[in-house]
């Protein structure tokens, strides 16, 4: 996790997005600047027994059918049946986002497939597909299950598929720390390069973002029951009542400085380092003082050789839940001290909703766009700031200010906290 002299620097050189606010980097950047959200009344929640009404689904893809051959995807993507049959919706989004990221980073086939290039992914698997397979097993018999049902649905499905289909030969594994998963993936991918083990890593966060991934959170009263897409996700607002679910995929291309120089590409930003710490408190409720998150931020800054005085922007984890947002505000105060009034803190989850395993990579991608294009996204949908969040600099609109150093926070079940530190290249 360290950032001492002599260790290779790590840069973000490519991005791929399939998200509720855009299916390419340009559209996503435009949405962040215009604070255009991706939340809609979600038809699968229309049933009167479902109290949740909104979600932020990806656009241009139809992946609700049981049979993947009935799915539709944007014309620019062609996925052969042989590939499609082992993909859940999230893995399909990841497949498309990886194609984008490879093109964006201008990587050749040889750059993608060699023993110095690895892939770390995070997803919750595909609970919808898993459910259908297990139901079929019980109803039709053990031997009538699709042979690739496991591969398409268990938690490692994203890396199983992408590593094989893109002929990845370096390090590969998956991360499973719920909403911190893809930040963990980015952190450990950074280390693979910083330690000289790999020269390039793909980092992928993906989620199906459908009934089966979102609605189970209703039982723990974590979802917003607000039926208005324009206000349902409002981190830091006094009236926030839970998060809005989303899905999609984001791919980050991480490369060593030597590779950046060899290929002659212009990176989005540098990934300086990262830190992690755990709350040791509750399986699903964040520590009231945000102790673990504060510790993770301090470690991240230390590992990156940066001080709070150099930080201009923090992409908060804030999911729009009553308890979680306050914990994070307390952690921010604890770490930033006097800088709290200056550092711009915003939660882009007001626009996208909460992407769970996707969130960390998606928001790191947002930070990379902000660093390259010189803006700080506003924190949308705040009509009345929660007094418990007072004292922080939470911009309501996007600012055309180029940040120098940016932090991205993520927290997951069990009290896992990750903070990534990025810097203008």
């Amino acid at each position: 996790m360290g950032h001492s002299s002599g260790m290779p620097k790590v840069f973000i050189t490519g991005l791929g997005f399939i998200t509720s606010i855009g299916n390419d980097a340009t559209t996503v950047g435009d949405s962040l600047r215009a604070l255009r959200h991706g939340i809609v009344r979600y038809p699968p929640f229309d049933h009167p027994s479902v109290p949740v009404k909104v979600a932020a689904p990806v656009r241009e893809f139809q992946t609700e059918a049981e049979d993947c051959e009935d799915w539709t995807l944007p014309a620019r993507y062609r996925v052969r049946r042989e590939v499609l049959r082992s993909l859940g919706p999230g893995s399909l989004y990841a497949h498309c986002a990886l194609l984008q990221a490879i093109e964006d980073a201008r990587l050749t086939d040889a750059d993608v497939s060699n023993d110095g290039t690895g892939l770390y992914a995070a997803s919750a698997g595909s609970p919808g597909i898993l459910t259908r397979h297990v139901t079929r097993m019980h109803e039709q018999g053990v031997m009538r299950c699709p042979p690739l049902g496991i591969v398409a649905s268990i938690a490692g499905t994203v890396q199983f598929n992408l590593v094989a289909h893109f002929k990845i030969k370096g390090a590969s594994t998956g991360f499973s720390s719920a909403c911190a998963s893809s930040s963990h993936a980015a952190g450990f991918a950074h280390d693979e390069i910083a330690l000289g083990r790999q020269h390039r890593m793909f980092v992928i966060g993906a989620e199906d973002g459908n009934v089966e991934t979102i609605l189970p959170f209703a039982g723990m009263r974590a979802l917003s029951l607000n039926p208005d897409p324009d206000t349902a996700s409002r981190p830091f607002d006094v009236a926030r009542d839970g998060f809005v679910g989303t899905g999609g995929a984001t791919v980050l291309v991480l490369e060593s400085e030597a590779e950046v120089r060899r290929r002659g590409v212009t990176p989005y930003c540098e990934l300086l380092g990262w830190g992690q710490a755990s709350d040791g408190h509750n399986v699903a409720i964040s520590h009231p003082e945000g102790a673990g998150l504060a510790h993770a931020m301090r470690r991240a800054l230390q590992a990156s050789g940066r001080t709070t005085a150099e930080v201009d922007h923090i992409n908060a984890h804030a999911t729009s839940t009553p308890i979680g947002d306050i914990s994070e505000c307390r952690a921010l105060h604890a770490v930033l001290g006097a800088e709290a009034a200056r550092v711009a803190v915003s939660s882009t989850k007001a626009l996208t909703g909460h992407g769970l395993s996707l969130a960390g990579a998606m928001e790191t991608g947002f930070c990379a766009l902000a660093l390259r294009d010189g803006f700080i996204p506003g924190s949308a949908h705040i009509h009345q700031l929660d007094p418990a969040c007072a004292g922080l600099n939470i911009p309501r609109v996007t600012r055309p200010t180029a940040p120098r150093v940016v932090l991205n926070n993520s927290s997951g079940f069990g009290g896992a906290n990750v903070c990534l530190v990025l810097q203008r290249a």
């Binding site: 097993m137 053990v142 009538r144 690739l148």
Partner: protein, 330 residues
């Protein structure tokens, strides 16, 4: 009970409610309409003559579009892996759909012997009629051939072979290192047609030795008793040169001690090279020696050696999950 007029499968045709028909139609929705009608017809009347159309239709649905034309040639010797590009996972998908439509279960042990369209058609037909499936074709890798055959390198013209009661097929790649090519011809190596006929004869020898001949009790065909006696109707159609892969196949026509007559063909890809209407070998019996160790035939494809009913990894049975079929990657 009188013999049914049609070859009716005992397991189907009794009740076929509309829901079952709808389920069949849904399961086969990506197959041709003739496949769907054949399946519905089969489930309605149990007439096993529908089965070939069902099987071809289901295979066609899983074959990549650019290879589908091959299915239209009516060649039942098409191999799933080599000719139709179907990997072992796709084979599982085909099997699951066939099982669902034909209302039967195909055990893993049987599945691994189904290598060609003809294997599958025969197997499903027997199963649907409640008959024992035919003895599966046995695969022989080069080391199996060297161990079994009386003829040896450098005069063995089979690299691999597969033998069932009704046929045998084999492969031979002309390497260019064959000693006789130095003189046949000067600066122009061409595989002699007589040698290709010899290769067909060798396949006939293998067929006789592979255990499909019903001998007298306690006796087997002796490998030292087999010799060439004659051939009829031989035509050479194509010059074969180093690099060509010969696909050899024979089918027994008559088998009556001491003479076994086969028809045979040699192809390169889809092109005919040599056709022989009859190749006749003479053979005899010797006392059977009880083998100390029975060597199983080599594995023929990606389907693993798991003989259990596939519960691995599902119910935590005693089987090592690493023996699971198909992927070996559990």
């Amino acid at each position: 009970m009188p013999e049914p007029a049609l070859p009716v499968a005992p397991s189907v045709g009794k009740t076929f409610p509309p829901e079952a028909e709808a389920a069949i139609r849904d399961s086969l929705k990506r197959c041709s309409s003739s496949t769907i009608e054949a399946a519905v017809g089969y489930r309605r009347d149990g007439d096993t003559r529908h089965l070939p159309a069902i099987i071809i239709g289901i295979v066609e649905r899983f074959v990549e579009p650019d290879l589908r034309a091959r299915l239209g040639t009516g060649d039942d010797d098409l191999r799933f892996v080599e000719d139709l590009g179907i990997d072992s996972l796709t084979m599982m998908e085909i099997v699951i759909l066939v099982e669902e439509v034909a209302q039967l279960q195909i055990p893993n042990d049987d599945l691994r012997n189904l290598r060609t369209l003809s294997d599958v058609k025969t197997y499903i037909d027997c199963r649907a009629r409640g008959l024992p499936p035919p003895k599966p074709s046995k695969f022989f890798a080069i080391e199996d051939l060297v161990a079994l055959m009386p003829v040896q390198p450098p005069f063995l013209f089979l690299n691999e072979a597969s033998v069932s009661a009704a046929s045998a097929s084999g492969k031979y790649k002309i390497t260019g290192q064959e000693f006789f090519l130095q003189g046949h011809f000067k600066d122009n190596p061409v595989m002699p047609a007589s040698i290709m006929l010899e290769a067909l004869g060798q396949l006939g020898v293998l067929h006789l030795l592979a255990g499909h001949v019903v001998a007298e009790p306690g006796k087997v065909v002796g490998s030292g008793t087999i010799f060439f006696t004659g051939c009829e109707g031989v035509r050479a159609h194509r010059v074969c040169k180093p690099g060509d892969v010969l696909t050899l196949s024979i089918k027994p026509k008559r088998m009556k001690l001491p003479l076994a007559t086969f028809e045979g063909s040699v192809r390169v890809g889809q092109e005919k090279a040599v056709m022989a209407e009859e190749i006749t070998l003479t053979y005899g019996y010797v006392e059977a020696v009880v083998p100390v160790v029975a060597l199983p035939p080599a594995e023929t494809n990606g389907v693993g050696p798991n003989g259990a009913n596939g519960l691995n990894g599902v119910n935590g049975s005693a089987h090592d999950p690493h023996d699971a079929p198909v992927t070996g990657r559990v």
